[in-house]
Symmetry: C2
DNA sequence: CTGAAAGCGCTTACAG
DNA sequence: CTGAAAGCGCTTACAG
């Protein structure tokens, strides 16, 4: 009833070659102990029927599949860059990759998606999994490596040096002369969100600038979460002269809101993001941001998972990759020092160090 | 011996709840005919044990899995953009997505990879598959949609209007006054490669410029294939004043070779690509290229596959999406008309039409 | 409303 | 060197 005939199975091959499925299986898997003539007969039957073993049946029966999994919730620029790195690390490694992405982005299964998919895959299909930005801790019988783990997660992980990156970003703004610097935070369940906020706080404190809770907006890394927060921040009576957003996606939204409110960037407002997704370089004058090489996150995670699966891993279970500040056109000195709530001396235009 | 205990299976749940696996299965799948009290007992056992059904076992037994597959050979910017579109189309569709990527990029299995993976997945795991840039025709028991199909393939497909796009690109160069225009072709097994070359030929012929076989290099869409071809082209005694490459990846290589040979772009050489991958906007002055919205290719392919699987598809089996020329800094009029092998009048600097 | 049994397509001891 | 049989974790008629 379906289109075409039923798929070719191993027993079709066995029948055609006049042997048992056990023998076909041995030939397919290159096991020793099959006569040359039988092997040839089976091979030609396989050839003629166009037989290909079922991934599902094979992996249900075997313990080792030579397939690695990657579980992700969404598929944005961030994920795309990570995947390129993962694939590069797996090239000619003998491991294929299966990526599982659920379509129910904001649906009922959102909570705990990573554990659900992980369990469903790792039972039999995959030898190990990479989980991208999980919402909570994950566990599995087979090795797991997380990219941007949840806070307090103890699983093996690869992440950027978010603390240093965020600190540098805010120091850059301070160095330009900004004193009122807003912050749009990321999803608090992620360690990265916490570290980036901590970097913001440390940089301010280090420069003797008090942290004002009113200048902190609580986003969740998704671009959509940033617009209302940015609007609120920029419409204040005493708005910040600069905003640091915990992700480029959110920073790009800040740029849009600024335009909408008639503010020029970097004239009226400086903006710094985090991630350095390709789009950041494409905005009019470019977004100043912290590069965290998502490609390398993926590359290192795959390298680690591979070794974990084969039992060869010697390195640390938590890898932290360096970040670097990429200065583009969205940051500049503030138009004039703003001194709400403060009586510091105005020092313009000279600004050394 | 493995890390942790064995995974929780349906019979563990059955045992804990004091019922048969058949009943557990009914509860898990929400089938009617289970008493409320039994359902509750099973539910709580599932909860306590943290049971999650095995994707593999389920799909081996069932005909419908609600999982769609995507098979790809490599994972570059092109694939990443396609995937974003696919995911968007699948959001809240009820279908999850499994992407299968083989790691053996240039290895023994390169030939026929798409059919191999397709068969291995579609036997049981997926309800249908998208195959990206296959090397040959593909067939399957379950629905298949190809993105950028092979030449002469009759499978349902989504592709850009490569012929029109390429024609426009070359007409752009002709309009600037170029007459010696080189071409770097793509992998000839793909319909897209053929159409882009045909567009090149038609534009030249339409403008009364003879097609010179010596100005055509045979690449395969991979960036690496383009460098030697570009070098050969540009080192000729009578080099072209412009080069049209059948993909951005290859065009970017042409740019590198030009630099290496001391040629300025667009002063000494104009370059046009095809695809409009994000990187094209990031080169110094930008690469002029043909946009084919890979995002939409993915989006439409997923939309089509979804309907094909549910049997609701009404539209055509071959979808062709429009392209548009994106003019950036890599194209300009030639420095001076080159008239090797020709005695046409020199008309400079006026160039109408 | 529930269970025993067969079977999805494979692999792997166990016999011979 | 080869086959019969059990079983991986599930689902689905078939009985009751």
């Amino acid at each position: 009833m379906a289109q075409g005939s039923a798929p070719i199975t191993m027993s079709d091959v066995a029948q055609a070659a006049g042997v048992s499925t056990a023998t076909v299986s041995r030939v397919v898997n290159g096991h020793y102990g099959v006569s040359a003539s039988t092997t040839a007969r089976v091979r030609s039957a396989i050839e003629q029927l166009g037989y290909e073993s079922s991934l599902v049946a094979t992996s249900l029966r075997r313990s080792r599949t030579n397939v690695l999994g990657l579980v992700t919730h969404s598929f944005q620029s961030y994920t795309a860059e990570v995947l390129k790195g993962v694939m590069q690390a797996l090239t000619r490694s003998g491991f294929d990759l299966i990526i599982y992405a659920n379509s129910d982005v904001y649906g009922t299964y959102a909570e705990g998606w990573e554990q659900r998919h992980l369990t469903r895959l790792s039972g039999t299909l995959t030898d190990g999994c990479i989980v991208v930005t999980p919402w909570g801790d994950v566990q599995s019988q087979t090795p797991v490596v997380t990219i941007d783990p949840a806070r307090n997660s103890t699983a093996p992980s690869v992440t950027a040096d978010n603390l240093a990156g965020a600190t540098t970003a805010v120091e850059h703004l301070l160095g330009l002369g900004h004193r009122r610097i807003g912050f749009i935070a990321g999803r608090s369940s992620l360690a990265a969100a916490w570290s980036r906020e901590e970097g913001y706080r440390r940089a301010l404190t280090g420069a003797g600038v008090p942290v004002e809770p009113a200048l902190i907006g609580r986003g969740d890394f998704n671009p959509e979460s940033a617009a209302p927060l940015a609007r609120e921040l920029l419409k204040r009576a005493d708005p910040p002269t600069a905003v640091f957003a915990a992700s480029d996606g959110m920073a790009l939204e800040v740029l849009k809101v600024a335009k909408e409110l008639g503010l020029t960037v970097p004239g009226d407002l400086s903006v710094v993001g985090f991630d350095n997704i390709p789009e950041s370089a494409l905005t009019e004058s470019g977004l100043t941001t912290v590069d965290q090489s998502m490609y390398h996150l993926g590359y290192e995670a795959a390298r680690m998972l591979k070794s974990l699966v084969t039992g060869e891993w010697e390195g640390p279970r938590q890898i932290v990759l360096p970040t670097s500040l990429v200065v583009r056109g969205s940051t500049a000195p503030p138009k004039a020092p703003r001194n709400h709530n403060s009586h510091r001396a105005v020092q313009l235009p000279g600004r050394n160090a």
